[in-house]
């Protein structure tokens, strides 16, 4: 039996009727065609499906779509014009933060959340904070360099100052 839900997804009010076993990731990808959210392990391990639920990062593959009724969801598509995300994307481009790109949306969302909460981390702290996102190309050196570079740019930018106010 389908249950109707209503949520704000990337700023738009969305109504849907979902089977209880449908994951948020499947709702995003298959019904709403928001395919930046990738599905790797589908058991909460790899982090490729990380999205923001009410501004907090969460695994879309182990979040039931019925459970997000009334929430505000943002995927990578919804952060297209976000100042911090633009800095991160540019850093991933410059510092070789991706190879095949499969893990990248999850990496970007996790890094976005990390820099919003803790903008001044050293390399070891970034590695621990990003340990929930797996890159099977094993391109971690480039990913960590990208996040460090983005953190420096973000800390020096006017957008960061405004954000803190």
């Amino acid at each position: 039996m389908k249950t109707s839900i209503s949520a704000v997804i990337n700023g738009k009010q969305v109504q849907s009727a979902v089977e209880p076993r449908t994951s948020l990731a499947d709702l995003l990808r298959e019904e709403l065609r928001l395919t930046a959210t990738h599905l790797g392990c589908e058991q909460g391990v790899c982090g490729a499906c990380t999205v923001l639920i009410d501004d907090q990062p969460a695994r879309a593959c182990i979040t039931l779509a019925v459970g997000i009724d009334g929430s505000d969801i943002r995927t990578l598509e919804g952060l297209e014009n976000d100042a911090l995300m633009l800095v991160l994307k540019s850093a991933f481009h410059d510092k070789h933060g991706l190879q095949c790109g499969f893990c990248t949306p999850g990496m970007l969302i996790s890094a976005w959340d990390l820099l919003r909460r803790k903008p001044h981390l050293n390399e070891a702290e970034i590695r621990i904070a990003m340990s929930g996102n797996l890159c099977r190309c094993t391109g971690y050196q480039g990913i960590v360099r990208s996040i460090r570079s983005a953190a420096e740019k973000w800390a020096g930018s006017a957008a960061a100052t405004q954000e803190q106010v």
Binding site: M1, T3, E19, P20, R21, T22, S23, D26, E42, Q43, G44, V45, G47, T50, I53, Q56, P57, A58, R59, C61, I62, T63, L64, V66, G67, D69, S110, D113, L114, R127, I128, A129, S131, G132, N133
Partner: protein, 276 residues
């Protein structure tokens, strides 16, 4: 989609949740943060005919700071402890534990009540609440009761929780300010379940100590004899021998490798308490 079909009920109150968990022969499971249950459903390891979603029940989110203890609603997330959004009476142990469970995207959803209810021997909160001498407040079809954390887990994934019963809150007594805690955990990968973990609580001013070893083959072990040795000032090789002996006598079937692992981790937890 991965799981087998199930029914879903979004509970509006504790009473409503209990009513819907009473499902006769069907398997009804409460859903809190879902960070263990949903992976298990996706892998089809945990059968469920009905999920009762607790996340909209405000009564399970309440925090009550009392003079003697803090009562954390079962739905308090790991991230709430990590971020200091809830009061602490453990000299910083609970915020520390909250900050190193799995990964941030798990900590924002996972709850202390859900973690304790699952009673995975390798999970962090069960060992922590036993160390802190916390109580577990339960509510079910027969009313409310409170169980000491030390009596709560019966074995791996086995607890005293009855049919259609829920954890309502975890009640953590205020620890003395003179107490120092030490923690040590061995996990092969950052954020993974532990292979061994230990928490030492040592209060030199009051001459008291507690030593708990988790991630064993059953409920966490409270090492009372070793704690008395610590309180009496035993250190080094003498203490290590006492810990090994108590683990060996615990009735658990530890391999020599596990015995060495757990005793080493316990010693390191004791040593870490000196650094605080």
């Amino acid at each position: 989609m991965k799981p087998a079909p199930f029914d879903y009920h979004r509970a509006t109150s504790i009473e409503d949740a209990i009513a819907h968990l009473q499902a006769g022969d069907a398997i009804a499971r409460p859903l809190a943060g879902g960070q263990s249950l949903v992976p298990m459903l996706n892998l089809r390891l945990a059968p469920a005919d009905r999920l009762v979603d607790l996340t909209r029940i405000d009564a399970l989110k309440q925090i009550v700071a009392r003079a003697d203890a803090i009562r954390y609603g079962a739905l308090t997330t790991h991230a709430a402890f990590e971020d200091g959004r809830v009061p602490d009476a453990s000299n910083g142990l609970m915020p520390f534990i909250g900050s190193q469970i799995a990964y941030r995207a798990v900590r924002t959803r996972g709850t202390i009540g859900g973690a304790v209810a699952l009673a995975d021997p390798a999970a962090d909160w069960l060992t922590t609440i036993i160390a802190l001498e916390a109580d577990v407040a339960l509510v079910g079809p027969n009313g409310r009761r409170t169980v000491a954390g030390t009596d709560f887990a019966l074995g791996p994934y086995m607890t005293v929780i009855g049919d259609a019963e829920l954890i309502e809150a975890i009640i953590v007594p205020r620890r003395p300010g003179s107490e120092r805690w030490g923690h040590y955990k061995v996990a092969r990968k950052t954020g993974e379940y532990a292979e061994s973990m230990a928490i030492a609580l040592i209060d030199k001013a009051l001459g008291k100590a507690r030593l708990i070893v988790g991630a064993t083959d059953g409920a966490p072990l409270v090492l009372e004899k070793s704690a008395r040795e610590i309180a009496a000032g035993t250190i080094g090789g003498g203490l290590a021998a006492a810990i090994r002996a108590e683990l060996a006598e615990s009735g658990r079937d530890f391999s020599p490798e596990k015995l060495l692992l757990h005793s080493t981790v316990a010693m390191r937890a004791v040593a870490n308490s000196e650094r605080r």
